[in-house]
Subunit: 557 residues, 2 copies
């Protein structure tokens, strides 16, 4: 195993020794009990899984093939070790963790290889194709859409091609605001290299701490400040993709009319068109000012209308986000004692403020709006936004909660793992839709989730926020939780499927920024129409006739 490439826990999210704790959040346990009927005081937390309990399918890689890979990358960078293969078997979706904790590893990569550079990637790809093997590119392993797993029915040798050693910022074109970055660079490493020279990528997805540039491109990631910096589809201007025999090279361009966009075919391809080795991304000078302000709205409808009005206005904030009443209640109830929210919690000032305004504590919605740029620009933007907020009945409550949000935004997956320890599902589903459909989608998803909970016979929880505003619509992000009864994966499917079906039934997409993988492919036809899937399939099959690159992802056979 390459000791220079750090992996997440084999059985869960994040680094060894880091986890979620609620001892400093007195409102958390009562909230969980009310929301999903789980008494954290009496429930037993599962102990950390032991790798000895895991049955790992034997590697099918031939000695000759492993020798060939060894000749390319060196003995210390190719392995058939069981734990390394398990780490490369799944991403970190709820289904992945349930399976890995439940000893359900039906198929594993047969060999994991860590090339040092693009030339080695090319040689690995060519060697794999020559023996009719399957190649699954692996970045940070944070995927939650099932994009990484080898299929149980796969009889060919499966190679997990880990990009972890390709993590340098190769070059910064300061005049153009363009940085050439190796695909395996993880968020913090990339940003540190950029920051050191005064730049930022401005792309901070929830997975930031453990996801890679190549993974962002492969799955069409979106970061928190997308209102200003764009989705990764906007940020990634140039690409290098290793394909059998040669590298596909798209030089960085601000825009082009050179036919159907090959760049936009690689984006979202989840490994099916080759191995992304380098991305030229837009970078920006670190802004003079970067603030996140908190606002309250009397109702969800008022808040959504305000976000829409902001997107239509001359204002250009970096973040627009609003939690619905349930997510707001969750945030307020589960904050640390001494946090930016402390002055708003139930015991303190919030009820007074609300009653003075005639607001209902059960319907208020918390919003975060970000401003970036020069001092005068950030101030001007806030002034424009504040006027719109006021017109929609909202009120500003300063920077404190925003600071807190900014600090804890990457912690949610640890909470998900904690709930799993306690025998409960906690997961997310997200979508995007035109502004005119957002309330309809929101309500339909709630109805679908509650119907699914009733079917399972549990008290389930669902909450939502709007984020990532565009001219014509926004992303809706749902978080749901319930206590497993008898059959975790079937129960999970019941809820998750109900939500996904509600998306496509209400003019929303199957995913705004998590990708398709195996989790969402069943709804692809309903999203982009049968002919859309036909065209996409034509691309996959024509560009990879031997099905060597991560087959059956996005579009399943």
């Amino acid at each position: 195993m390459t000791d220079t490439v750090k992996h997440m826990k084999w059985w869960g999210w994040g680094n060894e020794g880091v986890g979620f704790h609620h001892e400093d959040k007195p409102g958390f346990a009562p909230f969980v009990e009310k929301a999903v009927g789980l008494d954290l005081g009496s429930a037993t937390r599962a102990s950390e899984p032991s790798f000895e309990d895991v049955d790992v399918p034997a590697s099918r890689a031939s000695e000759g093939f492993v020798r060939e890979l060894t000749a390319i990358v060196g003995g210390e960078h190719v392995t058939t070790d069981d734990m390394v293969r398990v780490i490369h078997t799944y991403g970190k979706g709820l289904r992945d963790l349930v399976r890995i904790r439940g000893n359900q590893i039906l198929r594993s990569p047969d060999v994991v290889v860590y090339p040092a550079d693009e030339a080695q990637v090319q040689r690995v790809v060519d060697a794999a194709v020559a023996v009719d093997a399957v190649i699954i590119p692996f970045g940070g392993g944070s995927n939650i859409a099932g994009s990484l797993e080898p299929l149980p029915a796969e009889t060919r040798t499966v190679v997990s091609l880990d990009l972890g050693r390709l993590r340098e910022v190769v070059d910064i074109d300061a005049d153009s605001g363009l940085a050439r970055v190796q695909a395996g660079a993880q968020g913090p490493d990339l940003e540190a290299q950029l920051n050191a020279k005064g730049w930022t990528i401005g792309h901070f997805p929830d997975s930031f701490t453990h996801s890679t540039v190549g993974g962002w491109v492969a799955t069409r990631s979106t970061g928190m400040q997308s209102d200003k910096y764009g989705d990764i589809a906007d940020i990634a201007r140039g690409l290098r993709v290793v394909r059998p025999g040669d590298v596909l090279v798209l030089r960085p361009l601000p825009s082009t009319s050179s036919g159907p966009s090959v760049r936009e075919m690689i984006l979202g391809s989840e490994g099916r068109l080759g191995v992304i080795t380098e991305v030229t991304v837009q970078v920006h000078r670190i802004p003079e000012k970067r603030n996140i302000y908190a606002y309250f709205f009397p109702t969800w409808e008022a808040g959504v209308a305000a976000m829409q009005a902001i997107s239509e206005s001359d204002a250009s904030p970096s973040i627009t986000r609003i939690s619905d009443a349930r997510e707001t209640a969750f945030t307020l109830a589960t904050s640390k004692k001494r946090s930016g929210f402390s002055k708003f919690t139930a015991e303190t000032a919030l009820p007074k403020i609300m009653s003075s305004k005639g607001w209902d504590l059960d319907t208020i919605c918390l919003s975060f709006i970000g401003y970036e740029g020069g001092v005068a620009h950030a101030k001007h933007q806030k002034k424009l936004v504040d006027a719109i907020v006021k017109k929609h009945g909202g009120m500003g409550v300063g920077e404190g909660p925003g600071l807190l949000y900014d600090q804890k935004k990457f912690d949610t997956p640890y909470l998900r793992d904690f709930l799993l320890d306690m025998g409960a599902a906690g997961d997310v589903s997200e979508t995007a839709a035109p502004w005119s459909r957002l309330n309809q989608v929101h309500d339909a998803v709630y109805e679908a989730a509650h119907k699914a909970y009733a079917e399972i016979g549990v008290t389930g929880w669902i909450m939502s926020h709007l984020s990532h505003s565009y001219h014509s619509g926004a992303c809706l992000y749902f978080t749901f939780a319930f206590v497993f009864q008898d059959d975790p994966l079937t129960e999970y499917d019941t809820v998750k499927s109900a939500i996904q079906q509600a998306f496509v039934d209400n003019h929303a997409t199957i995913s705004h920024h998590h990708g398709v993988g195996r989790e969402h492919s069943a709804w692809l036809e309903q999203d982009i129409s049968p002919e859309g899937v036909k065209v996409m399939t034509a691309l996959f099959e024509g560009a990879d006739p031997g099905a060597h690159f991560n087959p059956n992802k996005v579009v399943a056979d």
Copy 2:
């Protein structure tokens, strides 16, 4: 012939009776003589071509097939008339006009059909595929990249499918700023329908008066205010595309991660993936304020640096454009006597202003910068930009020239046709590149053009402007002219090819917004790499295995 669908002149740009005149532009003739050695006073203007001189290949459409089409669309909407077929043979590129004036029509569509709606388009497509015919969708016919012509070697029946009767704004989703528009709607018709309800699309390409929504999508068009409204790739959110047996439907979405973007495959597909029948476009409330201001910079380098600084700044103008010294000289010399420029022409104030600043009249560059939005916003943007202009040594000269630019921006193709009447080529080539490459591209193109002129043995002219700024780069737009010697098309190829080769040799793309067609396909591999072309070819061949849809465009066999 459908008399409800208006076509441009069969032999040139625009409406019958409209043309370029220079009688009111005293500086024009001397300028032309100096630039390309053409004495407009003594040269003879070619008379309008007579259709009687044109040999039109006989229609190969079988009677049975024409009968079938007639059954679908009605007798008055299907024709094998020679003039209509000639109108649908080419776009309006220089090569097209030279060929049409030179009686070089080697292959023509065999039948032209004007369906009334999407259902009829579907039936026409299915009927055509059933008899193994070729379908070439036709919008306004303004294409200048050779995307419309049937190939001489084509032995199958060729159907020109004219979308001219599909021109309605079907619906406006006011909450989302989205309008469903039929693909055949031409610019002015579309904008009038939108304006009537308080909306604008904000997309005004040079071809606006004679191009269609479907054509914009099929060729990846960009309009003048793209800095604010985006390219058509940003504007077109939803699509309907008729394919054999079914319609490909992409519902309008602000953003999505549903795999490789099928939307971005249709964009730029130039008819190869099916017939675009409807586009859902972003629309905006007509802005309170819309101004274009003129500025002068002492040199091209100073002006480009200012545009780059603006793109990097907090300012967000709607237009950023700067002409180089030669284009500036052309604009000043060829303006009408009583125009916004009159006070700046050589006889009046300009020399005084320039000498007072120590500027050289031979190097000054004219720039236009646009501001749109609320009154306060437009004013604020201008203030931000003015400071950047000043820092780069530029000076503002008010709104007069900008108004003029706005009025005459759609007239350039008429000038091109006038020069053709006089035996001279006048044409354009445009590209995009990162900011750091723009001066290199500019100089390399000039060198390449002058080398080509020397080869032909003529005094040639070339001038350029920068427009359409993005974070990482901009579009460079070149206009070139020379007097034909012996063999117009060979000489045209010499110059045009030299320019295109200079683009790809200097990290610029083959086209920023004109598309690929037949004109630019020879350079596609050098632009997006051989593997990029392989992937694109896989898409075309897989999605249209029978090669029924505009074959051999973008990628040539």
